[in-house]
Symmetry: C2
Subunit: 268 residues, 2 copies
């Protein structure tokens, strides 16, 4: 089994991929789009990509790719993110701080307090930042403990994110929906027929009537008009459950578009 994930080695995505399947062979890609396209081009069996962080919110590119392509979510994993400040040199040598833009955002207060004059350089992944920074004394990286080990860098400080509790949810994208386990989630995208008062309410009413728990609702632009949205929703339950199946069938007639992204075991 081959799993595509964000590289290079030492990324949080790799950690998620290994947690999902220990024995899979991991192929590394440069960005989220390439990681997803690897699956679309049949280079891999599964792709693992981040979808949501507890501080920064949704990874909107992942949501948009789920809309644009025919993809099936087959699993999810939650990984605790503990950012470290890594360097080859001393703290006083640091002139540049490199990391993924989300990691830079997550450590905004730490950087403003301790490195007000450092230049921030966003790169495609935290592990790439570590790899690049390992070649220079005046560049620090914000990345994982695993990246420090992989690129033989010193950990100058641990847990530097603004809020201690920092989790990222990853999804596994594959081809076939796994059977119900009794603790599942179903992800869908809805486009409402019209932007009229109460249209979204009528959809949520269907779920509420059947006591179906909506664990997430997130709007994304349709990219056609300002103020025109798609809604990404996560529901508790599996598409094989009669309740979910019947409710989605009912909703289908009320909306402009219903896309079912898949049902999969919920992360604990």
């Amino acid at each position: 089994m081959i799993i595509a994930t964000l590289g290079p080695e030492g990324s949080y995505s790799e950690k998620a991929a290994k947690q999902w399947n220990k024995s899979g062979e991991i192929h590394y890609y440069d960005d989220i789009q390439d990681t997803v396209e690897a699956l679309l081009h049949d280079e891999v069996d599964f792709s693992v990509v981040p979808v949501e962080n507890s501080l920064e919110g949704s990874i909107t590119l992942t949501l948009d790719l789920l809309m644009e392509h025919h993809l099936t979510i087959v699993g999810e994993m939650v990984i605790q993110i503990s950012h470290c400040l890594l360097a080859k040199g001393k703290r006083s040598d640091i002139k540049v701080i490199m990391s993924h833009p989300q990691a830079l955002s997550q450590c905004r207060k730490f950087i403003k307090k301790n490195f007000r004059n450092a230049q921030l350089r966003p790169v495609l992944s935290t592990s790439l930042a570590a790899k690049l920074a390992s070649g220079s004394k005046d560049i620090a990286a914000i990345a994982s403990v695993e990246s420090a080990q992989k690129y033989q860098m010193e950990i100058l400080e641990k847990n530097i994110q603004d809020i201690n509790e920092n989790f990222t949810r990853f999804i596994v994208i594959g081809k076939d929906t796994p059977h119900a386990t009794g603790n599942d989630k179903t992800s869908i995208i809805i486009y409402l027929q019209k932007n009229r008062p109460g249209a979204l309410f009528e959809i949520l009413e269907e779920f509420a009537n059947k006591n179906i728990d909506l664990t997430k609702i997130e709007s994304r632009p349709t990219k056609k008009l300002l103020g025109d949205y798609l809604f990404h929703m996560d529901l508790k339950g599996h598409i094989e459950d009669r309740q979910i199946k019947e409710t989605l069938e009912k909703i289908k007639d009320k909306v402009g578009m219903l896309k079912i992204l898949g049902s999969y075991p919920a992360a604990i």
Copy 2:
């Protein structure tokens, strides 16, 4: 009247600020946070910041600052975004493309097609990219026509965003809620009491019952727990309208938190 906006000169934010008030004196700031803090520190009378783009969705930092601070939205403007490729040299000289991360995202397909090997360098604003690129032949910038004029750069190509219709909505933040004009919007943030099935539905039901139009709903993480959300909502109407006022009072008792961000004239 002093208005804070994203700089340097030639930014889309400046265009929005001038559209809102032609005669205001504009002060330029490096990033969204500094632009908002200028108002909090009484350096300016108003701040103009982007809140939503029709291709990329919400500017989440703006939403989070609206939650974190005591701020009042007093107006909104919609600006058409037309990104241009600007350079001092020839097309074949370009090795680096510089712009704001959202502008780079919005031109993703154009860049992949035409400059697959160019290095992408995200900076704090499109006008800053133009300013920096104007000093080098091998750096191009993605920015506005106004930036090209301001920094005397050639426009190598116009309208390079992935989808032609590209609009950004800006909000004006100030101190006093303007009176109703008959065509207004009210922005609120809600935190639901509990994450139980149907909690969001009950809130939307109140709006639907009164025929209040919800023009936007967007979830943001509470930054405490993964899967714990705040909801940013825009409603048609003014807080002075009896319908809106009474409905919000009713909702207040049903939610964990209701924050009213302001009522202001809706952009056409």
